[in-house]
Amino acid sequence: MFRAPSRPNGGGNGPVVLFDHVQLAFDENVVLKDVSFTLEKGRTKIILGASGSGKSTILKIITGLLRCDGGAVVVNGGRVDQLSERELMAVRGDLGMIFQEGALFDSLTVRENVGYKLYEETKLPLAQVDRRVEEVLGFMGLSEHIDKMPSDLSGGQRRRVAIARAMAFKPSILLYDEATTGLDPITATTVDDEIIKLRDIEGVSSIVVTHQLRDAFYVATNMAVRGRNGSVEIVGATPEKADETEFIMLKDGLILFEGNAEELRQSNDPYLKLFLS
């Protein structure tokens, strides 16, 4: 494996996600042979790899939707790979996941989807939940769609509603599973902007799984800042900010590369070159 030199943790408070020699196989099909990485607080990992390389599997292991065969998985300082489904519910309170295609509940409105966890799994007053849902949808620029059904939304809007649903309960870690796959470049950029805003404005730690290189580099090389009038703008990332986003390339169940955007571009590994070409 080519591993770029590790950098000091700039202002982080230790890893919020730790994968330690994680292995997983489905019968004869070995998906993850030996995968280790850490995600520091407030930072972003972008996981790249071909279809079937185990990218989405990593996210499902972190949320406990899948159980690994070996190794250890730590989230917010506690091991999650040996917890029961009931114990995992507490861990998931600080994890938001955006699924491929959004996975919105098609019998619920946008409001009910976004506020689902708050309406169903907390005892917050309804008025307070409504306010939070409206706030989140406003942040995502989706206020006018609040009473629509998911089937009435475009693909990009559905993904953004999925992000809104994942962030509504203010988790400190967001996991994006192919959030821009199948979207046109302009719509994909709006989704990328939301990922950047959540990272830089809300301070959310994130893992972005994708095979869309354009989106991966966009997220890594841009940053969100507040303008003078309070509006959020997306600008080119400073070198320090760009360093806070790391790439992981998966191949054959192993990590082939780990490093920042510049190191990925300059890599001489033939597989990486082929992937980036």
Binding site: L65, E85, R92, M97, F99, A103, K117, E120
Partner: protein, 257 residues
């Protein structure tokens, strides 16, 4: 050949184990919080009120056809006036519970399997879990409770409507007096018959819904898988209804007759 039967047995044992585990999880969900009350009410409405029309029509025409057919047979013995006895005994003990259950299998079993199957293949079940909701509590338990509670209610309605359908034929086709028809019904029905007719739908409703939930939650393979799951839910549910009816009948005969 040996390997094939071994493999089939393993699959059957595994499926049975998973089915029992689902029922166990649903039972645990019943006795521990949280309970999603509004989902239970929603399912009571969907399964109970939503199935009323089909159950009423089935009961009405079954009772009418039964009276018409048995009238012909009873005529051979000069026993046409006791047609009410035959209709009521058949409806209450056997046809009411079984036909209602079969109608529920077609309407509710297929619907549950298709709905849960679609949620599985579109990752909505995983999304529920990721949002901290146990799908068994949220989706399975409300459906089981609604199935177990509404199947007996619908069966009672089907029984009454069937007997009423029998009366229409008895009165206007067989020319049996109304008083004679209804008195023969009350004379022929014993408490054991009613216990039998009421015990069956609890069991059948439970089986229909648990099979449909199990099949739906184990859906694989996209929209084709959803279609496959729906078919299995209806076929397995129907066979289970007929088989369970036999075993409950045997038990009831042993206990009450």
């Amino acid at each position: 050949m040996q390997r094939g039967s071994d493999s089939w047995l393993k699959v059957a044992a595994f499926e049975t184990q998973e089915y029992v585990r689902l029922i166990g999880a649903a039972f645990r969900a019943l006795i521990t919080p949280p309970i999603y009350r509004h989902d239970i009410v929603e399912q009571l409405d969907e399964i109970g009120w939503g199935s009323l029309t089909v159950v009423v029509l089935t009961g009405l025409f079954t009772g009418a056809a039964l009276a018409s057919q048995s009238g012909l047979t009873l005529d051979q013995f000069g026993a046409r006036p006791v047609v009410g006895r035959l209709v009521s005994a058949s409806m209450v003990k056997e046809l009411g519970p079984v036909l209602t259950a079969l109608m529920l299998t077609g309407r509710i079993g297929s619907g549950i399997a298709a709905e849960l199957g679609s949620m599985v293949v579109t990752d909505q079940i995983n999304a529920l879990r990721a949002l901290g909701t146990d799908p068994v509590r949220k989706l399975v338990l409300p459906r089981i409770l609604a199935g177990v509670l509404m199947a007996p209610v619908l069966t009672i309605i089907a029984d009454f409507v069937g007997i009423f359908g029998g009366w229409i034929v008895a009165r206007f086709q067989l020319q049996v007096g109304t008083g004679l028809y209804w008195s023969s019904i009350t004379e022929a029905l014993y408490y054991a018959d009613i216990y039998q007719g009421l015990a069956k739908p609890f069991v059948l409703g439970f089986m229909i819904v648990t099979i449909a939930c199990y099949v739906g939650l184990r859906t694989k393979g996209g929209t084709q898988g959803v279609g496959h799951a729906t078919t299995i839910a209806v076929v397995a549910g129907s066979v289970a209804v007929i088989a369970a009816d036999f075993f409950v009948t045997q038990l009831m005969v042993f206990l009450f007759y």
